[in-house]
C-alpha cells in the first residue's frame, strides 16, 4: 500500500484556446487516449498544429470512470506486445511528463477457482513468460501471504485454487494521468478545446477535410477518432460502420479505509476486481451489462453479484459502505481486442474497441495511433489490430483469455 502523498497541482495546467479555423490534425475525444495521441504526435512526430476536441470537459468520460488497473498479462502475442509496451511506458512516463501520477506497481493477482481456471491460468503464465511479460503462478498459501485479507478456505462456493501474479502491474491515479498528458501537450502548443462537440465531417470524395463542431467548422488534413463508447456514432457521421457494440460498464467505491488491501485482486470466475485507492477507497468493478446502452448507468444485479463475490473473497468487506457507483460506456468488439488503424475514409483514423480495458493501454494506444496518424500507416504494434482483421479472419480472440471477461 502506497503512503505517497498526492502530487501538488502545478500552478498552470493548460490553456482554453478558441478553436482555430484549421489544423494539421484533429483528435476527437479529450480522454486519456486522445491526450496521449496528441502528446506523441507532438513529441515523436513534431506535429504541434493540432487540436484535441472534447465535447464535455477534459478527461471527464471513461478516463474518470475506470478502475485504473494496469497490467499486461494477456494471452495472445499481439496483445502481450501492445500492453507490455504500454506497461514499459507507464514505468517511465511520470519522469518524462514531469508529473507524478502515482503509478503504483503493487502487483495484480488473477484468481483461479476451478480446475479449468487453474489450467488456463498456468497456460497464460507460460505464454506471458515467452513474451517477456513477468508472470508467476501462486498457490493459495502464497496468495494469502500477498493479500492477507483474502479468504482461501475451501468451504466457500468457489475456493481460491491459486492465482497468476504479475508483480510489475498496478494502478495509477487516472485524473493525474490525464492532467500530466494535457499539461505537456499544452506546453508543446497543442490546442485542447473543451465543450466542443463534433456534429459532422467535411469530405472531399472519400477524403476527410474537416470537422463540423458546436463551435464552428474546422478544416484539417487528418482526423483521429478517440471517443470510446461513441466511436460508432462518429463513424456513422463519417459514412462508415464499425464492428462495435456499446455497453454500460459500472464500478463503485467504498468509503475510505485504513490500508488493508496491498495489491490488486481480480477474479474472472466470480467476477469482481478490487484494489484500494491511494486515499483508501476500495475500488471495485465487474462485467458490462449484457445489453447495448448509452445511458451511463448500470444494472443493480451486476453490483449485487460483484458485492457477493467480494464479500465471500474478502469477509472483512461485509461492513464496508458503498460511497458511490457510476457507469461509463465501453465499445466492445467481437474478439475483445481494440481497433487501432485506418478507416474506409481517407485521412481518417480510428482508435476504439478497447472494451473494458482501455485505461491500461493508454500510452501504447497514444504512441501507435500517433504513428498511424502521422505516417498514414500502422505502427508494428497496432498493425494486427486493424479493421481488416474482421475480413481476413485474423482475429485476436482475447475473450476469456485476457484474464478477465469483457
Amino acid at each position: 500500500m502506497s503512503t505517497q502523498h498526492l502530487p501538488e497541482h502545478p500552478d498552470f495546467l493548460w490553456r482554453n484556446p478558441e478553436p482555430k479555423s484549421s489544423y494539421d490534425a484533429v483528435i476527437v475525444g479529450g480522454g486519456g487516449h486522445g491526450l496521449a495521441t496528441a502528446y506523441f504526435l507532438a513529441k515523436n512526430h513534431g506535429m504541434t498544429n493540432i487540436a484535441v476536441l472534447e465535447k464535455g470537459w477534459l478527461a471527464g468520460g471513461n478516463m474518470a470512470r475506470n478502475t485504473t488497473i494496469i497490467r499486461s498479462n494477456y494471452l495472445w502475442d499481439e496483445s502481450a506486445a501492445i500492453y507490455e509496451h504500454a506497461l514499459k511506458l507507464w514505468e517511465i512516463l511520470p519522469e518524462e511528463l514531469e508529473y507524478d501520477f502515482l503509478f503504483s506497481q503493487r502487483g495484480v493477482m488473477n484468481l483461479a477457482h476451478t480446475l479449468g481456471d487453474v489450467r488456463e491460468s498456468i497456460r497464460r503464465v507460460g505464454a506471458n513468460k515467452l513474451n517477456g511479460v513477468d508472470a508467476e503462478w501462486l498457490d493459495p498459501q502464497q496468495v494469502k501471504e500477498l493479500c492477507p485479507i483474502l479468504n482461501i478456505r475451501d468451504n466457500i462456493r468457489y475456493p481460491v485454487m491459486g492465482a497468476t501474479y504479475q508483480p510489475r502491474a498496478g494502478i495509477a491515479k487516472h485524473d493525474h494521468v490525464a492532467w500530466a498528458f494535457a499539461r505537456k501537450c499544452d506546453e508543446m502548443g497543442v490546442d485542447i478545446i473543451q465543450n466542443c462537440e463534433v456534429t459532422g465531417f467535411l469530405k472531399d470524395g472519400d477524403r476527410v477535410v474537416g470537422v463540423k463542431t458546436s463551435r464552428g467548422t474546422i478544416n484539417t488534413e487528418k482526423v483521429g477518432l478517440c471517443a470510446a463508447g461513441h466511436s460508432s456514432v462518429l463513424a456513422e457521421m463519417a459514412g462508415f460502420q464499425l464492428p462495435i457494440q456499446s455497453h454500460p460498464l459500472q464500478a463503485l467505491v467504498s468509503e475510505l479505509h485504513e490500508p488493508v488491501h496491498p495489491t490488486v485482486v481480480m477474479s474472472n470466475h466470480v467476477h469482481v476486481y478490487v484494489s484500494q485507492a491511494h486515499k483508501g477507497e476500495l475500488v471495485m468493478g465487474a462485467g458490462v451489462d449484457s445489453y447495448n446502452g448509452y445511458g451511463q448507468r448500470g444494472s443493480f444485479h451486476v453490483i449485487e453479484q460483484q458485492m457477493a463475490a467480494a464479500v465471500e473473497l474478502f469477509p472483512i468487506f461485509a461492513r464496508a459502505h458503498v460511497l458511490r457507483t457510476w457507469g461509463g460506456i465501453v465499445d466492445t468488439t467481437l474478439d475483445a481486442s481494440p481497433i487501432v488503424g485506418l478507416t474506409p475514409v481517407e485521412n481518417m483514423f480510428v482508435n476504439c474497441g478497447w472494451g473494458t480495458g482501455g485505461f491500461k493501454g493508454t500510452p501504447a494506444a497514444g504512441l501507435t495511433f500517433a504513428h498511424t496518424i502521422a505516417t498514414g500507416a500502422p505502427h508494428a504494434l497496432n498493425k494486427p489490430f486493424s479493421l481488416e482483421r474482421f475480413e481476413t479472419g485474423a482475429l485476436i480472440d482475447e475473450h476469456g483469455a485476457a484474464a478477465v471477461a469483457h
Binding site: S232, L242, Q245, G295, Q296, S299
Partner: protein, 122 residues
C-alpha cells in the same frame, strides 16, 4: 435494471432474461456466394444506434421463448415487444413522447409499459 414485458409471462426482472443482440439479421440466402467482405458484414457488423434499437431477448427462466423488443439505448425505455419473425414495427415516437402506451406498429405488436430504471445515477 430493466423491467422487461415478456409477451407470454408479463413484466419480469431483467435477471430472468438473456440478451440476443440485434434483431432481424437474416442468414445469408446464398452463403456459398458471399465474399469475405460480405461474410464479415454478416458475422461482425451490427447496428449500434444511440436511440431506438430492435433487439432479441429470451426469457431464460420463464417461458424460455425468444421475442423481439424495441428499446431506446439512451433512456432504456421499452417501446414495443413483438414475436420473432414479425417485421419491425413502424418507427416509434421519440423516446420522450412515449409514455408507456403502445407503439404504432402492426396488429401483432404488444402494447406495454415503459421500464422503470431503479436508482439509476450518474
Amino acid at each position: 435494471m430493466l423491467l422487461i414485458p415478456c409477451p407470454n409471462c408479463g413484466p419480469r426482472d431483467e435477471t430472468e432474461f438473456h440478451y440476443g443482440g440485434q434483431a432481424h439479421v437474416p442468414y445469408p440466402e446464398n452463403p456459398n456466394e458471399l465474399s469475405d467482405t460480405e461474410w464479415s458484414r454478416y458475422l461482425f457488423y451490427r447496428e449500434n444506434p444511440k436511440g431506438v434499437f430492435a433487439e432479441r431477448w429470451v426469457h431464460s427462466t420463464g417461458c424460455r421463448q425468444w421475442f423481439n423488443m424495441l428499446r431506446d439505448t439512451v433512456s432504456y425505455d421499452i417501446q414495443a415487444v413483438y414475436p420473432m419473425g414479425v417485421p419491425r414495427p413502424a418507427a416509434p415516437l421519440p423516446a420522450a413522447a412515449v409514455t408507456g402506451t403502445a407503439s404504432t406498429g402492426p396488429a401483432s405488436t404488444t402494447p406495454l409499459s415503459t421500464t422503470a430504471p431503479e436508482g439509476a445515477t450518474k
